[in-house]
Every structure is written in C-alpha cells, then in structure tokens.
Amino acid sequence: MTRADKVLLVGILLASLVSGTALYSRFFLDPVGAQPIQAVVTVSGKAFRTIALQSGARSSFVVQGRQGASKVEVDGRRVRMQQAPCENGICLKQGWIEHPGQSVVCVPGEIVIRIEGAAPLDAVTR
C-alpha cells in the first residue's frame, strides 16, 4: 500500500463514520422503545380513560363495566386486568400486556384495554 492508499483508506473510513453518525444518531438518541405508549380503556365502545405508560409509574383504578366493577392495574410500561366480576376470568388470565397492538378484552363487561403507540416490526423477511 502506498501513502496515497492509506490516505484514501482513512478518508473513506472517516466519510463512513461521519455519514453514519449523522444518519443514525437520531436512532440512538431516540430509540423506538422510548416513543410514547399509552393504554386506552374503553367501556361499551366509549373511551373511558387513557393512561400514559412510563417506567416507574404504578396505579390502579376501577372501571364500571356492564357486569360491575373491574380493576385495572398499571405497572410502569405494562398493564393488566387485576380483578373482574365475571366467572370466566378470561381477561385476568390474559395477564400483563405491554406491546403496542396488544389488548385485554372482557366480553361480558364490554371492557377493552388496548395499548397504542408505534408498533415495532413483528419480523423482517428478505
């Protein structure tokens, strides 16, 4: 390799690093996981409450469904149905949900908890 070769090599390397930093920095500064996600609770098709899901926040609240009071628990970025009056308990068995697009549905109570936000890709095919 001549001197000019090495200069060229370093030049290409620098160009790659600079363009790479310029193009990709916003992904590192603002990763997809940090985008706002919220849980939307609807009763009988009407929006009941919207909760921003952020790390560290814990809360729970009562939702009046068609069959009585259900309790929704929020733990940081995830949410679940904690108590439900009906005997099936399907919404309880659903457990915690945390990804955009996931939902907990209580059919008898007509309560739906749905997580909204920028959904990550399921898979990439080539």
Binding site: M1, A4, D5, L8, L9, I12, S16, L17, G20, L23
Partner: protein
C-alpha cells in the same frame, strides 16, 4: 500499450468472459454479513485490467458487457438489480480510470477501494432515483465501510496479478 486490432479484441473478449464468470460466481457466494448487497467485487478485477491495458473506453466496454452478460445468465436482465449493477459498474469504471490514468500515487489497492466506493455511491444514487426515496442513503455508511476490505482484497489480487504481468500478458500487452 499494444494496438494490434485482433489481439486486442481477443484479449478484451477473454476479459469479458472472465468478468462474466466472476460476476456469476460472485452472485452465488453469500457474504456472512447481516446486511444484503455487500459483495466482493471480483468482477471488478477484469475492468481494472482492461483500463490498465487499454484505457477507459475499453474498460467501460468490458464492464458494460460483463454486466449485460452476467444479468442474462443470472436471469435478472432489466430487473431493478440489473439497473443498479449497471450504474455501479459505470461509476466505478469512471472513478478507477481517472485514478489509473491521471494519478501516479495510488497502488491497485487504493484504486480498487476507490472503485468499490464509486460503485456503491453510483448504485445508491440510482436506487434513490429508482425508488423515489432518499431513505436508501441510510445504506451509505455501511457500503462505504464495506468498500474498504473488499477493495483491499481485489486490489491485493490485482497487485499480485500485475507482478507477473510480463509472463501473463506477454502475447497481449
């Protein structure tokens, strides 16, 4: 360099044939990288040889014919990939011809690296025109980086080849 018509045509045809073979074989080699589209650029070797021996015009002829024949064999003639390969071949041939004929300070390694980078940049510009999006430019840093080892590799092969040029090209150049 040698100017005799028939020998030149014969040697150029051999370069085209070798370039086509390398082009096709290279398409079968999978490079173990997570990004698609990175390849060694082995077929570039014959383009450099043609420029080195006969100049830009014949180098361009060899590159264009190689891409054309390679795409016909690979069954991708006029497919998007073919258009990208064509632009890449043209831009890398131009870059390498300028460096080979107008400068003295680069070895084959530098010329190959510049050719690889020229190939990738031309290809990306064609892709962004074709897809009507600038999003493909996110590929630029990766392709620039990939051009270094692949260019060094083909440049190393070319350097070793030209060490023996008096034996190999005795009858041609």
């Amino acid at each position: 360099m040698m100017r005799s018509g028939t020998r030149r045509v014969v040697f150029l045809s051999m370069l085209v044939a070798m370039g086509t073979a390398l082009h096709v074989v290279e398409g079968m080699l999978a490079i173990p990288l997570p990004v698609p589209g990175v390849k060694l650029g082995l077929a570039n070797i014959v383009t450099v040889l043609a420029i080195y021996l006969y100049g830009l015009r014949d180098g361009m002829t060899v590159a264009l014919l190689r891409v054309l024949l390679g795409s016909l064999i690979g069954g991708v003639f006029l497919a998007p990939g073919f258009l990208l390969g064509l632009t890449g071949a043209v831009s890398s041939t131009l870059v390498m011809a300028i460096l080979l004929k107008r400068t003295r300070c680069f070895s084959m390694i530098g010329i190959s690296m510049a050719g690889a980078v020229g190939h990738n940049i031309g290809q990306l510009l064609a892709a962004s025109l074709l897809l009507q999006t600038s999003a493909v430019l996110y590929y630029l840093p990766i392709l620039l980086l990939a051009g270094i080892p692949t260019g060094m590799f083909t440049g190393y092969l070319l350097n070793s080849l030209l060490e023996h040029k008096s034996e190999i090209f005795r009858d041609f150049a």
